[in-house]
Amino acid sequence: MSSERDSETTFEEDSQPNDEVVPYSDDETEDELEDQGAAVEPEQNRVNREAEENRETFRKENGRCCPQQYTNFMLDGLLFSFFLKDCTWQVKANDRSFHEQPQFMNTKFFCIKESKYASNAIKTYKYNAFTFLPMNLFEQFKRAANFYFLVLLILQAIPQITTLAWYTTLVPLLLVLGITAIKDLVDDVARHKMDNEINNRTCEVIKDGRFKIAKWKEIQVGDVIRLKKNDFIPADTLLLSSSEPNSLCYVETAELDGETNLKFKMALEITHQCLQRENSLAAFDGLKSFMCEYLCESYFSEGFVECEEPNNRLDKFTGTLFWRNTSFPLDADKILLRGCVIRNTDFCHGLVIFAGADTKIMKNSGKTRFKRTKIDYLMNYMVYTIFVVLILLSAGLAIGHAYWEAQVGNYSWYLYDGEDFTPSYRGFLNFWGYIIVLNTMVPISLYVSVEVIRLGQSYFINWDLQMYYPEKDTPAKARTTTLNEQLGQIHYIFSDKTGTLTQNIMTFKKCCINGQIYGDHRDASQNNHSKTEQVDFSWNTFADGKLAFYDHYLIEQIQSGKESEVRQFFFLLAVCHTVMVDRIDGQLNYQAASPDEGALVSAARNFGFAFLARTQNTITISELGTERTYSVLAILDFNSDRKRMSIIVRTPEGNIRLYCKGADTVIYERLHQMNPTKQETQDALDIFASETLRTLCLCYKEIEEKEFEEWNKKFMAASIASTNRDEALDKVYEEIEKDLILLGATAIEDKLQDGVPETISKLAKADIKIWVLTGDKKETAENIGFACELLTEDMTICYGEDINALLHTRMENQRNRGGVYAKFVPPVHEPFFPPGESRALIITGSWLNEILLEKKTKRSKILKLKFPRTEEERRMRTQSKRRLEARKEQRQKNFVDLACECSAVICCRVTPKQKAMVVDLVKRYKKAITLAIGDGANDVNMIKTAHIGVGISGQEGMQAVMSSDYSFAQFRYLQRLLLVHGRWSYIRMCKFLRYFFYKNFAFTLVHFWYSFFNGYSAQTAYEDWFITLYNVLYSSLPVLLMGLLDQDVSDKLSLRFPGLYIVGQRDLLFNYKRFFVSLVHGILTSMVLFFIPLGAYLQTVGQDGEAPSDYQSFAVTIASALIITVNFQIGLDTSYWTFVNAFSIFGSIALYFGIMFDFHSAGIHVLFPSAFQFTGTASNALRQPYIWLTIILTVAVCLLPVVAIRFLSMTIWPSESDKDERYWI
């Protein structure tokens, strides 16, 4: 069987890939994905493997404690194998001491041992009252910028080199640290509160044989608990029994996955029956069975659970319950997960299996991948650049100082300072002094400000009314607050289809029964009409009246019962599903896990086959009015691997039947050879696909009693296997799901969402390429492509085989041209297609694998590769492997180049992993910013891989949203997110950064120019207080507000002219060139700021003869000119002047003067004579008209050229936004 599966998924080199087949499926967990990422870095991989091996040995050691003998034992005459390795988590009911045995202890510190079973008290907070300060500071100083300033602070504390007062760095640093610390503190206090609240929730636990109220934090593994209706489940619990019949227990999992529909859990029948009452529950452990001597003593007799170690898979659980000398299989259906809520169930009992930090919800939390934006990287590089400049400047000035000391300083008697330093040593000290003085070149508040701006942008996204979806009360949400400006730089969008482009609201449209298509507009006598009335379902008491159906002939067929397949068809729909039903006011209400299933079951209901009730072993259906109950023998679950589900029922007459529905590809493989309608149904499927309908095939099979008996044994055995249970089950399922008889196919319509074509064309105009990645069939995908105007009639569509040929020739050419010199020849980019024609590419998953040489290697091969016998062999292998890698890389690059030449790309029949792979390819070879948008769990990989992941909060639960960076309810909001918010954020961030670097250079370099006139002695050109407050008070608010509020053009124009988006894609507004322009601007400004006052001061005295050419007046003059200049400059940079901006700009200037006059006042000097030395300078200096004239001239000379250059560049090379702005307002 397994070899069959392998041959399905492994292609031979030259075989043609099958377009119809989804290559292989894999629902990978995050861990596996990470492993894959690690494969790129061999070092990391090695470490991982070592860790893995260590774990392995550890497990073995752990296992030793429990006697190996009982690995084989008999149950109902069947042999089970237990691999202790996998099931090391042992839980014994009502026996706390069991879990404290030494073998369950892990060494934590040297000798302190701790149980591996976590207690149920959770701790999500990071700090407590004592650790907050040290730990928070430590965390903060891990950031390079903060650490840099800490180092500066330490330098400043050294008396020989200190050049600035201690507070100049300390105050801004404290402010920055303080803001972050307060933010962290608020977060942590909230976490404390939450933890307390949760830990102190109460619940009933058996203690000393009775149920007693206990707090959640007191619950331990192995406790038996009672839960009531609407209780939160305190820990991952094995459901033992419930008040409902058939041991059902309904839970709401909203907190786990966001899905609000009820799910049911079912206890084992035996526990349900035996463990209803308190005393029996309390005795759950007490019964020492006569079998207890057998092997592992008491283990089997008592309630004893053995299962896998805690992990983060919400939908998986493998375990075995040993009780009453029998073992029972446990799976995820019997586990109540922490975080869920009990609904519609009066009470239920459970056994705690994982507590606290071991629970699945806790294991799932806090695993976020840190994404950073392009601008982040750029910004860091720029900060490094500045840092290098700082060191160079300081070194230069230090040399200058050494020289000056040798030439002048040594002879100046008045400079005698009692120290006997050589000039070069003085120069060395001054190097550090200048590092301190010029430190403001690296802007201390940069990172904090950037974060504030991003946070603001995120709020604007959250607040946007035009991205609010009233029908579901869903506003847009920026779940990550650090990526906003990247939204303005998107090149590629990778979109899922179902639920993203479409509404994911399924309606039953058509069906094909026995080769005959139903669902067109027809009357009862098979005559087609273009306008027919809706089918009247009033004959059916269970009809919900929501289905619009126009084929009267089908009704006629059902009612007449001429064709048995028709009834069989709808019966199958009514019976083969996992939908839950409850009755509200006598009305049936279905709770379906997937919308497809819901649509099908309600369709069956409308056509007279209403699903009425379900118990653990039965299912009740009203068949055209007659109620019949079928006993369910087995449910063969759906998963993305199997792509089908089956149910085996026994009819009241005693026949056993298997009903199966699933994807056409998997069903067709398992059909009986004698199926007369195979071809007709295939044609019908193609027709449905071309109408963009979603299809499922239905089939059934009669099973002999004996055959079933035999199979059932295997099934039971597999279902309690503790290793690889899923694989074992799959295998068993496979055995029965064969030789099926085809009944027909269903076609469900999933409408396009509103505004999808408009959005796609808008985004296309913004030069964003859209790739649709879908699991659908090629035809469906193609039709959706046309429907949403991604494909147009004038496009040439290429398919897998076309591009495969193209790629082959290209590879050949490259190989021929290559040879030894290949590496030295710069790669010439030659297009694959002749220019001028628009092309689209439609490629299936199989072709994708074929083209990219991505083949699933058999596990055995990998194993072999792992242990090569000789050195020679190993070398050969690595060589060939490397060659293969190189070839693969070349091919991948070629493919990406080719695909990017197409204006639209649709990948169909792709698996979640392939989706992620495609995103990764483009990310890697195009160096472009990618965005992935999707709504389902199958998009999670892709969403996490792309630079930006967007989740649509739709019908398919919240998994995609949970792992996304942005989420909203409708695809059409994407255009607003990108074209408006993204663009604005990008422009704001760029302007902000440019200005920030400019303002700090203009500010700091004045010191540099001044050093030529003060013997390079690291004397500052400003008052210390001014240096302290410049970045935090005098110049921060206007630029912050600009970063938050600026709009170069309005949102309407941004949407109207998508071409405006291109600035971000091409990095036009912030790149190294722009950065250097800002720096040069800053340098020139600092020169003007210094040299004009210098000229004015060299030869002057005050109005009343007193000297204004003193140092302090000079400092005040430059500082005033600087403040006015930078604030006016931001005024010029701001293109959207709100009153807030105006207020902040003039406010900053006013604040500067206010604070300066305060600090220069007499009172403060008398109080702190040494801290405030500039007494009277402001009033005396700014009394002089001469100084004002100097300031005015300085400001004018700084700003006039800027205005002139802006005006000229706008006149000569108007930018897109300038044009649009001017002509359309």
Binding site: V408, G409, Y411, S412, W413, L415, Y416, D417, F460, W463, L465, Y468, D473, T474, P475, W984, F1013, N1014, G1015, S1017, Q1019, Q1047, F1057, A1096, Y1097, L1098, T1100, V1101, Q1103, G1105, E1106, P1108, S1109, Y1111, Q1112, S1113, L1132, T1134, W1137, H1165, V1166, P1169, S1170, Q1173, T1175, G1176, Q1184, Y1186, L1189, L1193, A1196, L1200, A1204, F1207, L1208, T1211, I1212, P1214, E1221, Y1223
Partner: protein, 352 residues
């Protein structure tokens, strides 16, 4: 009941101008008329101010005499610290061809003296100078304490290196009558300096106030005997001392020394004629290649301004106008082209 709670829980964002980013705003546009008129106006303003400044600077009468070379023998004598108690005077005659009208100020000017050097500028104690704590000599090392451990008042390098030449201007009415020009030695400081920053410690008399302190090593007399003629002008409140303590921004600086007392002959200012400076040369500058000069100057509304600012304004004004004209030319040239653009653009966008 249920309905209202649902409304409360709605996640509908607020429709406020701020949250929807619809704040009323003025879109900053560099329109041609605005920019050009702004440039013309600024240019005119700059030119006007420049011319006024130049004219007023021209009206100032100023005489500067460098006396390091003239008094070369004294300079040489001062190069060696051993000669500190040897007096050396030097007389510099000069002729004033025009009357200096109005207030006349006497400055001393130093070249190459780095009063702005970091460690020099720091070497003072403001809390001592404000008179509260004479013993606070925090930053003053090595001029904080005398050999016997008493704190120096005023401490620090700045105070220690005070300019201690005496400059006396005498008017030679004719060859026989030499009269000393009356000069005021007070009122040459900022009010805030004299009345806030510098305060003598409170005591019955100054000498007792300064008991327990030593004079700076380079000083010849203690701080309370700086001005023997005017007891009010003594201690930390000595005007010359205060002026010196206000450190200069650049290595070349001038400081106000005296102002003309407009009495008798000098009621109109300094009349033309023969004068001479009699300088007691104490302050050594040659070792560090510095120079000293003495400056006589009148003032205008803009102070004793140099030509720099006036010229800078004039040049700026001129360049602004030039820029304005060229921008206007470019603007007009491109205007024609742009109308074509508009038509094409609008056509295109309508097609789209």
């Amino acid at each position: 009941m249920k309905k209202t709670s649902q409304i409360c829980q709605s996640k509908l964002p607020d429709n406020t101008a701020l949250k929807q980013q619809q704040l009323p705003a003025y879109r900053l546009q560099l329109s041609a008329t605005g920019v050009l008129s702004g440039f013309f106006a600024t240019g005119a303003f700059c030119l006007g101010v420049g011319i006024i400044l130049i004219l007023s600077a021209k009206s100032i009468k100023e005489i500067e005499i460098k006396y390091t070379k003239i008094c070369a023998n004294c300079a040489e004598l001062r190069e060696d610290a051993i000669n500190f108690d040897k007096e050396c005077t030097c007389s510099i005659p000069f002729y004033l061809s025009e009357t200096m009208q109005g207030n006349v100020y006497l400055y001393y000017k130093l070249y190459g003296f780095y009063q702005n050097l970091y460690r020099y500028i720091l070497s003072r104690s403001n809390s001592q100078l404000v008179g509260t704590d004479l013993k606070d000599v925090g930053n003053c090392a090595p001029f904080s304490k005398s050999h016997n451990g008493t704190p120096i008042a005023p401490c620090g390098a700045i105070a220690n290196s005070i300019f201690n030449d005496t400059i006396i201007l005498s008017y030679n009415l004719n060859s026989s009558i030499h009269m000393e020009v009356p000069m005021l030695r007070s009122g040459i400081t900022w009010w805030t300096d004299k009345y806030v920053k510098f305060q003598n410690p409170s005591a019955i008399n100054l000498s007792s106030a300064f008991t327990g302190t030593a004079k700076p090593p380079y000083w010849s007399k203690p701080v309370y005997e700086l001005d023997l003629e005017d007891t009010e002008n003594n201690g930390f409140l000595n005007d010359d001392f205060i002026v010196w303590m206000r450190t200069a921004a650049f290595p070349t600086f001038k400081k106000l020394y005296r102002r003309l007392n407009r009495v008798q002959y000098f009621i109109e200012g300094l009349p033309a004629g023969n004068y001479s400076f009699n300088i007691t040369y104490n302050f050594p500058v040659t070792r560090f290649k510095g120079e000293k000069s003495v400056v006589l100057s009148t003032l205008t509304w803009s102070g004793g301004s140099s030509l720099f600012l006036g010229l800078a304004y004039t040049v700026t004004g001129a360049v602004t106008w030039l820029a304005a004209f060229s921008m206007m030319a470019i603007h007009l040239m491109l205007k024609e082209k742009r109308t074509l653009f508009i038509e094409r653009d609008s056509k295109l966008s309508f097609l789209c």
